[in-house]
């Protein structure tokens, strides 16, 4: 890790990405507190409402506030602003009681209005609402629980498989190598999408959100590991010819501990790199599956399922453009991981740096 922090600070783009990711992961951790409402709370008379936070009015002066909107057309869901009616947005308000991390109940939220207590007060929607009147901002925060963790869980699974199989194939060679490589080729041969469709349709009946989340992760990592395993096999091949491996063998160390304690750490930088570049792949995989209706479905929420629900019909997007917000978050996260991956590539692979 030497010099990595220094490099990070020197590259503004990678540093900015790092900060953005830290903020997003913190927001994911504390989403019950940061989100003003629960992900599935319905605001009956506020469906398809545009973002309504504003910063200035003659009545209340500067400060975060919400202008009352009134629906003029309940077919096209059009709203008009009501002149002179504003609600102040307060910090640390008492609002809906939610269960924080499933441990204790919490009714204080970072921001909110007096909606519910004061009959004139309006709820605040940073990114508007969807067609059922659910707050898009809160849903994005709750959805990040799935969308942001699926990458790391999935990469962990597929990298473990790849390390074990690729390492064994590369280190022992011979019949092991042959069997494992044919297995890899076979899994590559099976069209990934159809395998996913099959597995999903076999296992999909009556699953709750946690199970389907795990299932999607497992399927995606099962389809993804052979490519990495081939790469790791090649690297183990190269490393095992070095003297320190021969020394360890002469000291009659057990093969497995030579492999996992001496050879694998030699590849740590490449492994860190493949984690960083693998995470956005899994996030997008979840999005694609949810887009096809095979991923996360209501009442569970992820960015992919939000895109699938709200952002796939053109007419919807043209009349309610704020529903594209989860897509923007998706772009930000994948770009951030790639920018950091670019930095890590320079750090992990000096030859590549010469080339680029």
């Amino acid at each position: 890790m030497k010099g990595l922090a220094k490099r990070l600070v020197r590259r503004p783009l990678a540093f900015g990405s790092f900060v953005v990711l830290v903020v997003l992961y913190l927001a994911m951790t504390f989403c019950e507190f940061l989100a003003p409402y629960d992900a599935n709370r319905l605001f009956e008379h506020y469906s398809d409402l545009p973002p309504n936070l504003s910063w200035y009015s003659n009545e209340l002066g500067f400060g975060p506030q919400v202008q009352t909107m009134s629906m003029v057309n309940d077919v096209t869901q059009q709203y008009v602003r009501v002149k002179g009616e504003y609600t102040r947005v307060n910090l640390f308000t008492q609002g809906q009681t939610v269960s924080m991390w499933g441990l204790f109940s919490l009714s204080t939220h970072l921001f909110g209005t007096d909606f519910g207590k004061d009959p004139k007060a309006q709820p605040v929607f940073l990114f508007g609402t969807d067609n059922l009147g659910r707050d898009v901002f809160s849903r994005i925060l709750y959805g990040s629980r799935i969308s942001l963790t699926i990458g790391f869980v999935g990469v962990f699974l597929s990298l473990s498989l790849a390390l074990i199989f690729g390492g064994l194939a590369g280190y022992f060679g011979g019949i092991w190598d042959w069997i494992i490589m044919r297995l890899c080729e076979f899994i590559i041969l099976v069209p990934g999408l159809y395998l996913i469709l099959f597995l999903r349709s076999i296992l999909s009946d009556h699953m709750d959100s946690g199970q389907s989340f795990m299932l999607i992760t497992v399927i995606l990592s099962f389809v993804g590991w052979p490519g990495t395993a081939r790469m790791i096999r090649g690297m183990v091949h190269a490393v095992k010819r070095q003297d320190f491996v021969a020394n360890a063998q002469l000291e009659s160390m057990p093969s497995l501990s030579i492999l996992f304690r001496h050879i694998v750490p030699q590849m740590s930088s490449i492994l860190i790199l493949s984690v960083t570049l693998g995470v956005p792949g899994f996030i997008l995989g979840e999005t694609a599956l949810s887009y096809l209706g095979l991923g996360i479905v209501d009442p569970a929420v992820s960015w992919g399922s939000m895109i699938n629900r709200d952002a796939t019909s053109v007419s919807n997007l043209l009349s309610f453009p704020w529903l594209f917000a989860p897509g923007i978050f998706l772009v930000i996260v994948t770009l951030a991981f790639n920018f950091i991956g670019e930095l890590l590539r320079d750090w992990a692979d000096p030859n590549w740096k010469e080339a680029s």
Partner: protein
């Protein structure tokens, strides 16, 4: 002939015809893999709950509105008969054996269980659409990325190069689904382009008009596919080109006063082909398979959507035909790319096949 002389003979023949033995080895492995794959598909199909008859019955029950006239209601005996007729009551390996016999002995791919149309006709008509789209996109992508990549590698270190590197990183990282959705929004918002990717005109009446209309319809999907893969290939070409241009042999060529353009194209460029040939092993299969997300977003009648629906409806004949065909192409592509590598790169030989 005892075992040891046979082994000697084997090794000798193998030394004499390395390519032949390499080829035979790969082909035998290929056939075995395809066989196991087919068995796996049938096994998975039988593991999935419900079959095509159950799906059909369920959809019939959902659309049945008039309960009094239940002349065409399906009783359990009819259902069992239908399953027997389609062979669905047998275990999956018998179904597989039957399918193999039908294909290999009778040379018949069967009919789609849903539409009753011959599989060959369905697959061929959709595949043509996919191949045309993939070919156009491949040609444009190859031309653009190679010429841009080589040109940019001559500008290494300049501001242009830095910004191009940033743009290609950006394009490489940008989620493909969102790119396509944004393009479709653009089409719908401005009205300059159609939001679907296939013309409604008839081909037979007016081929030229159809062609023009077709090109007009596929501009946006093509642009999406192009931008989605341009970033990655541009980065790869630029990196390998720069890698080659830094090698000592290039310095040696330059010191002999050989024209820079000639060094670039005849020497460096030729050596950058290796990663592409290895990477193009999936090319053949990609050409014949559709891209599902693109086809769904732009409602393009390609092979991807046909297969997606077939898998969902458990239309086994259709699924098997396509999976076996694509997998065979993938294997052939891997083999061809190995052979092509040997043609281009004299260092690769098949002695250790």
């Amino acid at each position: 002939m005892d075992a040891s002389t046979f082994a000697n003979r084997w090794a000798k023949e193998r030394g004499r015809h390395p390519l032949l033995f390499f080829f035979a080895n790969r082909v035998i492995t290929m056939v075995l893999m395809l066989f196991v794959l087919g068995l796996g598909v049938f096994g998975l199909m039988s593991l999935a709950p419900g079959d095509i008859v159950d799906n059909y019955v369920r959809s019939q029950m959902l659309t049945m509105t008039d309960f009094r006239s239940n002349d065409n209601a399906l009783d359990s005996q009819q259902i069992a008969e239908a399953k027997h007729r389609l062979g669905l009551d047998k275990p999956f390996y018998e179904q597989y054996a039957h399918w193999l016999k039908q294909v290999l002995v009778d040379h018949d791919l069967g009919r789609s269980l849903i539409s009753r149309a011959p599989v060959l006709f369905l697959v061929a008509s959709r595949m043509v659409n996919s191949i045309v789209l993939n070919l156009i996109s491949l040609v444009i992508l190859t031309l653009a990325s190679f010429s841009l990549g080589i040109w940019l590698s001559s500008k290494a270190g300049t501001k242009l190069d830095v910004s191009a590197a940033f743009v290609s990183l950006f394009l490489n990282a940008f989620p493909g689904i969102l790119l396509l959705l944004l393009l479709q929004m653009f089409a719908a918002g401005t009205g300059w382009f159609p939001v679907t990717a296939y013309p409604t005109d008839n081909f037979d009446g007016n081929p030229a008009g159809f062609g023009i209309s077709y090109l007009y319809h596929i501009i946006l999907p093509l642009l999406g596919a192009f931008l989605g893969s341009l970033g990655g290939s541009l980065r790869l070409i630029r990196a390998t080109m720069l890698d080659q241009l830094g090698q000592p042999y290039v310095t040696a060529l330059r010191s002999r006063g050989i024209d820079e353009g000639r060094i670039r194209f005849q020497h460096a460029f030729r050596n950058t082909m290796n990663p592409f040939i290895t990477g193009s092993s999936t090319l053949l299969a990609d050409l014949f398979s559709g891209s599902l997300i693109l086809e769904i977003i732009f409602s393009y009648p390609g092979i991807g959507r046909l297969m997606y629906e077939a898998v969902l409806q458990k239309d086994i004949n259709l699924v098997m035909t396509n999976i076996m065909f694509i997998s065979a192409l993938l294997l052939v592509g891997m083999l061809l790319s190995d052979l092509a590598l040997a043609l281009v790169d004299p260092r690769v030989r098949f002695n250790k096949a």
